[in-house]
Symmetry: C2
């Protein structure tokens, strides 16, 4: 009985620890934000396994200020919207959504990962969080060398 | 002398006729409009000569209403923003801008071409009009079979 109670306490503590990691909000309305740039990642590319397809980067108004300056202000949100790339008839068209990747700037809440919260919504479903508490290893590890660009890869184009 | 004057009058009349064709305005600020969809047209595609590269479709607020309804209200503007597609390292990235294509709805001014004015701005330069008075043959001829979608090809996606 004692062991079972201990187990329950541990499970509760573990849930509390998970809940303590501040969840990145789903970026409602992001399809109306500024379209920054796009890219197609094809078979053979080192990132094909994770990011194969056609992706579009979107930025909210605060993130646009960040792209134009040196750092991104708190509240900046950058979207990596990944769709299947359908190769057919010498054209590439857009297929189903694979994931909506989010970088959400909050320098206090996400201090451990460069001030950015990272999340991925599988299939674009707000209820399907594919990163969760793994932001440090699953996302920030690759973004960390980009410190000079406030941990972002994309740049604004005309 | 009489012939020379007549020639000048004819030239003036011809210029007046050209000017009478209502010019499609350059779509200032279109990069902040809603990003509708994207596509890559590759070598071997029947439209590669004219539209090879990666293109993005943008719509202003009125055009968004049009996509959601049956016809596009006057003032709707749809952009076909064509960039070079750079194939390298198993990826396709965006290169220089090739043309900014514009469809501008004004059912009275552009009655002869389905209520749409067509223009292309070479390299995205507002001063470099590549369609001019050739909208009927250079643009509308291909759009005409799309009458059921108010002469547009693109559809809105999530």
């Amino acid at each position: 009985m004692k062991a079972r109670i201990l187990g329950l306490i541990c499970a509760a503590a573990s849930t509390a620890a998970l809940a303590a990691e501040p969840a990145v909000p789903y970026p409602a309305g992001y399809r109306d934000w500024h379209h920054v740039k796009s890219m197609v990642i094809e078979q053979g590319h080192p990132l094909f396994g994770s990011f194969g397809g056609i992706h579009h980067i979107y930025a909210n108004a605060k993130a646009l200020k960040g792209y134009r300056g040196k750092t991104f202000p708190d509240g900046s949100v950058i979207i990596f919207d990944l769709l299947e790339a359908v190769h057919e008839g010498n054209a590439v068209t857009e297929g189903a959504r694979k994931v909506v990747g989010v970088m959400h700037k909050d320098s206090k809440r996400y201090k451990a990962t460069g001030g950015w919260g990272f999340e991925g919504f599988g299939g674009g479903d707000p209820g399907n969080r594919v990163v969760g508490n793994n932001a440090a290893s699953a996302c920030f590890a690759c973004h960390q060398p980009q410190k000079d660009q406030d941990y972002t890869f994309s740049r604004l184009r005309d």
